[in-house]
Protein backbone atom coordinates (compact mmCIF):
# COMPACT_ATOMS: atom_id res chain seq x y z
CA UNK A 1 0.00 0.00 0.00
CA UNK A 2 1.27 3.49 -0.74
CA UNK A 3 2.25 5.77 2.12
CA UNK A 4 -0.17 8.64 2.59
CA UNK A 5 1.56 11.99 2.64
CA UNK A 6 -0.99 13.90 4.66
CA UNK A 7 -2.61 11.64 7.24
CA UNK A 8 -4.57 14.50 8.78
CA UNK A 9 -6.74 14.76 5.69
CA UNK A 10 -9.80 12.58 6.47
CA UNK A 11 -10.33 11.92 2.75
CA UNK A 12 -6.86 10.39 2.55
CA UNK A 13 -7.52 8.38 5.69
CA UNK A 14 -10.74 7.02 4.18
CA UNK A 15 -9.00 6.29 0.86
CA UNK A 16 -6.14 4.50 2.69
CA UNK A 17 -8.71 2.38 4.53
CA UNK A 18 -10.45 1.45 1.27
CA UNK A 19 -7.10 0.68 -0.41
CA UNK A 20 -6.16 -1.61 2.48
CA UNK A 21 -9.54 -3.35 2.09
CA UNK A 22 -8.96 -3.68 -1.68
CA UNK A 23 -5.63 -5.37 -1.02
CA UNK A 24 -7.27 -7.71 1.45
CA UNK A 25 -9.98 -8.52 -1.09
CA UNK A 26 -7.30 -9.43 -3.66
CA UNK A 27 -6.23 -12.35 -1.48
CA UNK A 28 -9.73 -13.69 -0.71
CA UNK A 29 -10.16 -17.37 -1.49
CA UNK A 30 -12.84 -18.57 -3.91
CA UNK A 31 -14.81 -20.07 -1.02
CA UNK A 32 -14.73 -16.79 0.95
CA UNK A 33 -15.98 -14.86 -2.07
CA UNK A 34 -18.86 -17.23 -2.71
CA UNK A 35 -19.80 -17.45 0.98
CA UNK A 36 -19.72 -13.69 1.47
CA UNK A 37 -21.79 -13.10 -1.63
CA UNK A 38 -24.40 -15.55 -0.34
CA UNK A 39 -24.29 -13.99 3.14
CA UNK A 40 -25.07 -10.55 1.70
CA UNK A 41 -27.93 -11.91 -0.41
CA UNK A 42 -26.05 -11.67 -3.71
CA UNK A 43 -26.68 -14.43 -6.26
CA UNK A 44 -23.07 -15.18 -7.27
CA UNK A 45 -23.89 -16.57 -10.71
CA UNK A 46 -26.16 -13.62 -11.60
CA UNK A 47 -23.57 -11.12 -10.37
CA UNK A 48 -20.80 -12.98 -12.19
CA UNK A 49 -22.66 -12.90 -15.47
CA UNK A 50 -23.38 -9.18 -14.99
CA UNK A 51 -19.65 -8.53 -14.45
CA UNK A 52 -18.77 -10.60 -17.50
CA UNK A 53 -21.19 -8.41 -19.47
CA UNK A 54 -19.45 -5.28 -18.17
CA UNK A 55 -16.06 -6.65 -19.28
CA UNK A 56 -17.29 -7.75 -22.71
CA UNK A 57 -18.97 -4.42 -23.32
CA UNK A 58 -15.61 -2.68 -22.70
CA UNK A 59 -14.03 -5.16 -25.07
CA UNK A 60 -16.54 -4.44 -27.84
CA UNK A 61 -16.10 -0.69 -27.40
CA UNK A 62 -12.31 -1.00 -27.54
CA UNK A 63 -12.53 -3.11 -30.71
CA UNK A 64 -14.88 -0.56 -32.29
CA UNK A 65 -12.38 2.20 -31.55
CA UNK A 66 -9.56 0.09 -33.05
CA UNK A 67 -11.62 -0.56 -36.20
CA UNK A 68 -12.44 3.13 -36.55
CA UNK A 69 -8.72 3.99 -36.26
CA UNK A 70 -7.84 1.33 -38.84
CA UNK A 71 -10.51 2.62 -41.25
CA UNK A 72 -9.17 6.17 -40.90
CA UNK A 73 -5.61 4.98 -41.61
CA UNK A 74 -6.79 2.94 -44.61
CA UNK A 75 -8.63 5.91 -46.09
CA UNK A 76 -5.59 8.13 -45.57
CA UNK A 77 -3.29 5.59 -47.27
CA UNK A 78 -5.74 5.00 -50.10
CA UNK A 79 -5.96 8.74 -50.80
CA UNK A 80 -2.17 8.95 -51.06
CA UNK A 81 -2.00 6.00 -53.48
CA UNK A 82 -4.78 7.41 -55.66
CA UNK A 83 -2.97 10.71 -55.82
CA UNK A 84 0.37 9.14 -56.77
CA UNK A 85 -0.55 6.30 -59.11
CA UNK A 86 -0.91 8.13 -62.42
CA UNK A 87 2.56 9.66 -62.28
CA UNK A 88 4.50 6.58 -63.46
CA UNK A 89 4.08 6.15 -67.23
CA UNK A 90 2.52 2.91 -68.46
CA UNK A 91 4.74 2.13 -71.48
CA UNK A 92 8.26 0.81 -70.84
CA UNK A 93 10.17 3.33 -73.07
CA UNK A 94 8.34 6.26 -71.46
CA UNK A 95 8.99 4.83 -67.99
CA UNK A 96 12.73 4.66 -68.78
CA UNK A 97 12.72 8.23 -70.12
CA UNK A 98 10.79 9.36 -67.05
CA UNK A 99 13.33 7.73 -64.74
CA UNK A 100 16.27 9.33 -66.58
CA UNK A 101 14.53 12.69 -66.37
CA UNK A 102 13.84 12.26 -62.64
CA UNK A 103 17.41 11.21 -61.89
CA UNK A 104 18.79 14.15 -63.84
CA UNK A 105 16.72 16.37 -61.55
CA UNK A 106 18.26 14.75 -58.47
CA UNK A 107 21.97 14.01 -58.97
CA UNK A 108 22.42 12.67 -55.43
CA UNK A 109 19.63 10.18 -55.92
CA UNK A 110 21.08 9.24 -59.32
CA UNK A 111 24.46 8.51 -57.73
CA UNK A 112 22.81 6.37 -55.06
CA UNK A 113 20.73 4.43 -57.59
CA UNK A 114 23.70 3.88 -59.89
CA UNK A 115 25.80 2.62 -57.01
CA UNK A 116 23.08 0.33 -55.67
CA UNK A 117 22.27 -1.13 -59.10
CA UNK A 118 25.92 -1.30 -60.25
CA UNK A 119 25.25 0.51 -63.51
CA UNK A 120 23.55 3.39 -65.35
CA UNK A 121 19.89 3.56 -66.30
CA UNK A 122 20.50 2.56 -69.95
CA UNK A 123 21.84 -0.79 -68.69
CA UNK A 124 18.75 -1.42 -66.48
CA UNK A 125 16.16 -3.97 -67.52
CA UNK A 126 12.55 -2.76 -67.84
CA UNK A 127 11.77 -4.51 -64.57
CA UNK A 128 14.65 -2.64 -62.87
CA UNK A 129 13.34 0.66 -64.20
CA UNK A 130 9.86 -0.04 -62.88
CA UNK A 131 11.20 -1.20 -59.52
CA UNK A 132 13.38 1.90 -59.05
CA UNK A 133 10.49 4.19 -60.00
CA UNK A 134 8.23 2.48 -57.47
CA UNK A 135 10.86 2.87 -54.77
CA UNK A 136 11.34 6.55 -55.58
CA UNK A 137 7.56 6.94 -55.58
CA UNK A 138 7.25 5.31 -52.18
CA UNK A 139 9.99 7.60 -50.86
CA UNK A 140 8.19 10.65 -52.25
CA UNK A 141 11.10 11.48 -54.52
CA UNK A 142 9.22 11.70 -57.83
CA UNK A 143 8.25 15.08 -59.22
CA UNK A 144 4.76 16.20 -58.28
CA UNK A 145 4.75 19.13 -60.67
CA UNK A 146 5.65 21.58 -57.91
CA UNK A 147 8.94 20.18 -56.64
CA UNK A 148 12.19 21.76 -57.65
CA UNK A 149 15.32 19.99 -58.89
CA UNK A 150 18.27 19.64 -56.48
CA UNK A 151 20.60 22.59 -56.66
Amino acid sequence: METMTSPNDPRKHLAALMDACAENAESMTDEELLEEAAATGVDASVESSRIRGVLFSALVNAKKAQLADAAREYQKGNAVLTRRAPRIPFAAPERRAFLIQELERRPHVKDAVTELRHGDVPSFSDADVESVLKQLEALGLLADGNSKPES
Binding site: A15, E23, E36, A44, L55, A58
Partner: protein
Protein backbone atom coordinates in the same frame (compact mmCIF):
# COMPACT_ATOMS: atom_id res chain seq x y z
CA UNK B 1 20.83 -26.20 -25.44
CA UNK B 2 20.88 -22.50 -26.27
CA UNK B 3 18.62 -20.37 -24.15
CA UNK B 4 16.05 -18.28 -25.94
CA UNK B 5 14.49 -14.99 -24.89
CA UNK B 6 10.72 -14.76 -25.32
CA UNK B 7 9.67 -12.22 -27.92
CA UNK B 8 7.09 -9.55 -27.11
CA UNK B 9 4.55 -11.42 -29.23
CA UNK B 10 5.00 -14.52 -27.11
CA UNK B 11 5.11 -12.62 -23.83
CA UNK B 12 2.04 -10.41 -24.19
CA UNK B 13 -1.50 -11.52 -24.89
CA UNK B 14 -3.20 -10.87 -28.21
CA UNK B 15 -6.72 -9.46 -28.30
CA UNK B 16 -8.01 -12.96 -28.99
CA UNK B 17 -6.22 -14.30 -25.93
CA UNK B 18 -7.73 -11.53 -23.78
CA UNK B 19 -11.21 -12.47 -25.02
CA UNK B 20 -10.58 -16.16 -24.32
CA UNK B 21 -9.25 -15.37 -20.84
CA UNK B 22 -12.30 -13.27 -19.96
CA UNK B 23 -14.46 -16.11 -21.20
CA UNK B 24 -12.57 -18.51 -18.95
CA UNK B 25 -12.95 -16.44 -15.76
CA UNK B 26 -14.64 -18.38 -12.97
CA UNK B 27 -17.51 -17.01 -10.90
CA UNK B 28 -15.09 -16.42 -8.02
CA UNK B 29 -12.64 -14.61 -10.36
CA UNK B 30 -15.30 -12.16 -11.48
CA UNK B 31 -16.47 -11.57 -7.89
CA UNK B 32 -12.89 -10.95 -6.75
CA UNK B 33 -12.28 -8.46 -9.54
CA UNK B 34 -15.53 -6.67 -8.84
CA UNK B 35 -14.90 -6.53 -5.09
CA UNK B 36 -11.41 -5.06 -5.51
CA UNK B 37 -12.78 -2.52 -8.01
CA UNK B 38 -15.55 -1.62 -5.54
CA UNK B 39 -13.05 -0.76 -2.80
CA UNK B 40 -10.89 1.25 -5.22
CA UNK B 41 -14.01 3.14 -6.31
CA UNK B 42 -14.85 3.85 -2.66
CA UNK B 43 -11.33 5.21 -2.20
CA UNK B 44 -11.90 7.56 -5.15
CA UNK B 45 -15.32 8.52 -3.83
CA UNK B 46 -13.61 9.83 -0.68
CA UNK B 47 -12.20 12.55 -2.94
CA UNK B 48 -15.49 13.05 -4.76
CA UNK B 49 -14.35 11.19 -7.86
CA UNK B 50 -17.52 9.75 -9.33
CA UNK B 51 -16.12 6.55 -10.73
CA UNK B 52 -17.93 3.25 -10.24
CA UNK B 53 -16.42 -0.20 -9.89
CA UNK B 54 -17.80 -1.05 -13.34
CA UNK B 55 -16.09 2.04 -14.80
CA UNK B 56 -12.77 0.93 -13.33
CA UNK B 57 -13.11 -2.63 -14.66
CA UNK B 58 -14.01 -1.36 -18.13
CA UNK B 59 -11.15 1.11 -18.16
CA UNK B 60 -8.75 -1.70 -17.20
CA UNK B 61 -9.96 -3.78 -20.16
CA UNK B 62 -9.73 -0.79 -22.51
CA UNK B 63 -6.13 -0.10 -21.47
CA UNK B 64 -5.24 -3.76 -21.87
CA UNK B 65 -6.57 -3.83 -25.43
CA UNK B 66 -5.14 -0.51 -26.52
CA UNK B 67 -1.75 -1.58 -25.12
CA UNK B 68 -1.52 1.22 -22.56
CA UNK B 69 -1.26 -1.60 -20.00
CA UNK B 70 -0.27 -4.76 -21.81
CA UNK B 71 -1.13 -8.10 -20.23
CA UNK B 72 1.87 -10.35 -19.74
CA UNK B 73 0.49 -13.83 -20.19
CA UNK B 74 2.52 -15.28 -17.33
CA UNK B 75 0.42 -13.13 -14.97
CA UNK B 76 -3.09 -14.21 -14.02
CA UNK B 77 -5.66 -11.99 -15.81
CA UNK B 78 -7.45 -11.03 -12.58
CA UNK B 79 -4.12 -10.00 -11.05
CA UNK B 80 -3.30 -7.95 -14.15
CA UNK B 81 -6.69 -6.24 -14.06
CA UNK B 82 -6.58 -5.50 -10.31
CA UNK B 83 -3.07 -4.02 -10.72
CA UNK B 84 -4.31 -1.92 -13.63
CA UNK B 85 -7.28 -0.72 -11.57
CA UNK B 86 -4.93 0.26 -8.75
CA UNK B 87 -2.80 2.22 -11.21
CA UNK B 88 -5.85 3.98 -12.66
CA UNK B 89 -7.07 4.92 -9.17
CA UNK B 90 -3.62 6.19 -8.13
CA UNK B 91 -3.33 8.34 -11.26
CA UNK B 92 -6.79 9.76 -10.68
CA UNK B 93 -5.82 10.78 -7.15
CA UNK B 94 -2.48 12.18 -8.33
CA UNK B 95 -4.47 14.49 -10.55
CA UNK B 96 -6.02 15.98 -7.44
CA UNK B 97 -2.71 17.00 -5.89
CA UNK B 98 -2.72 20.34 -7.61
CA UNK B 99 -6.34 21.15 -6.83
CA UNK B 100 -9.14 20.88 -9.31
CA UNK B 101 -9.42 18.07 -11.83
CA UNK B 102 -10.82 18.78 -15.27
CA UNK B 103 -13.15 16.26 -16.91
CA UNK B 104 -11.18 13.35 -18.36
CA UNK B 105 -9.74 13.73 -21.85
CA UNK B 106 -9.37 11.05 -24.51
CA UNK B 107 -5.60 10.71 -24.24
CA UNK B 108 -4.78 7.28 -22.84
CA UNK B 109 -1.12 7.84 -22.25
CA UNK B 110 -1.55 10.38 -19.47
CA UNK B 111 -3.14 8.04 -16.96
CA UNK B 112 -6.44 9.90 -16.86
CA UNK B 113 -9.74 8.10 -16.62
CA UNK B 114 -10.61 8.28 -20.29
CA UNK B 115 -14.26 8.23 -21.04
CA UNK B 116 -15.12 8.32 -17.37
CA UNK B 117 -16.76 11.39 -15.95
CA UNK B 118 -14.64 12.73 -13.15
CA UNK B 119 -15.88 15.39 -10.80
CA UNK B 120 -13.44 17.59 -9.08
CA UNK B 121 -13.54 18.45 -5.50
CA UNK B 122 -10.04 18.88 -4.15
CA UNK B 123 -10.22 21.59 -1.49
CA UNK B 124 -13.74 20.78 -0.35
CA UNK B 125 -14.63 21.10 3.36
CA UNK B 126 -17.93 19.33 2.80
CA UNK B 127 -16.17 16.31 1.32
CA UNK B 128 -13.77 16.27 4.27
CA UNK B 129 -16.68 16.46 6.71
CA UNK B 130 -18.42 13.59 4.91
CA UNK B 131 -15.23 11.52 5.15
CA UNK B 132 -14.97 12.22 8.89
CA UNK B 133 -18.58 11.11 9.37
CA UNK B 134 -18.01 7.93 7.36
CA UNK B 135 -14.82 7.13 9.30
CA UNK B 136 -16.58 7.73 12.62
CA UNK B 137 -19.35 5.32 11.68
CA UNK B 138 -16.86 2.67 10.61
CA UNK B 139 -14.94 3.13 13.88
CA UNK B 140 -18.14 2.91 15.92
CA UNK B 141 -19.05 -0.38 14.29
CA UNK B 142 -15.75 -1.81 15.55
CA UNK B 143 -15.95 -0.56 19.13
CA UNK B 144 -16.01 -4.12 20.40
CA UNK B 145 -12.95 -5.08 18.32
CA UNK B 146 -9.88 -3.27 19.71
CA UNK B 147 -7.54 -4.93 17.21
CA UNK B 148 -9.38 -3.33 14.30
CA UNK B 149 -9.25 -0.05 16.21
CA UNK B 150 -5.45 -0.32 16.37
CA UNK B 151 -5.28 -0.81 12.59
CA UNK B 152 -7.66 2.09 11.91
CA UNK B 153 -5.59 4.42 14.05
CA UNK B 154 -2.42 3.51 12.20
CA UNK B 155 -3.98 3.77 8.75
CA UNK B 156 -5.05 7.27 9.80
CA UNK B 157 -1.41 8.06 10.55
CA UNK B 158 -0.50 7.10 7.00
CA UNK B 159 1.20 3.83 7.87
CA UNK B 160 1.47 0.99 5.36
CA UNK B 161 0.56 -2.64 6.05
CA UNK B 162 4.15 -3.74 6.78
CA UNK B 163 4.67 -0.65 8.95
CA UNK B 164 1.55 -1.47 10.96
CA UNK B 165 2.69 -5.08 11.39
CA UNK B 166 6.09 -3.89 12.65
CA UNK B 167 4.56 -1.26 14.92
CA UNK B 168 2.13 -3.71 16.51
CA UNK B 169 4.63 -6.59 16.50
CA UNK B 170 2.23 -8.92 14.69
CA UNK B 171 2.75 -11.37 11.84
CA UNK B 172 1.45 -10.76 8.34
CA UNK B 173 -1.09 -13.56 8.86
CA UNK B 174 -2.39 -11.90 12.04
CA UNK B 175 -2.57 -8.55 10.24
CA UNK B 176 -4.49 -10.13 7.34
CA UNK B 177 -6.93 -11.74 9.77
CA UNK B 178 -7.70 -8.39 11.39
CA UNK B 179 -7.94 -6.74 7.95
CA UNK B 180 -10.44 -9.39 6.85
CA UNK B 181 -12.69 -8.47 9.79
CA UNK B 182 -12.31 -4.81 8.90
CA UNK B 183 -13.06 -5.42 5.22
CA UNK B 184 -16.15 -7.48 6.02
CA UNK B 185 -17.40 -4.76 8.37
CA UNK B 186 -16.94 -2.10 5.70
CA UNK B 187 -18.67 -4.36 3.18
CA UNK B 188 -21.62 -4.82 5.54
CA UNK B 189 -21.91 -1.05 5.92
CA UNK B 190 -21.37 -0.11 2.29
CA UNK B 191 -23.12 -3.01 0.54
CA UNK B 192 -21.73 -5.47 -2.00
CA UNK B 193 -21.40 -2.92 -4.77
CA UNK B 194 -21.04 0.88 -4.54
Amino acid sequence: MASRTATAAEEYATDGEVVAAIDALTTADTLRLSKVAAFRARGLAAFGLGTSADDLMQEAITRTLNRTRRWRKTVNLVTHLTQTIRSIANHARDELKGGTVAPATSDDADGKLDGIVVWSVAPDPERAAAAVEQLDKISESFESDPEVGLILTRLARGMTGPEIQADLGITQTHYETIMTRLRRGVDRREGWRP
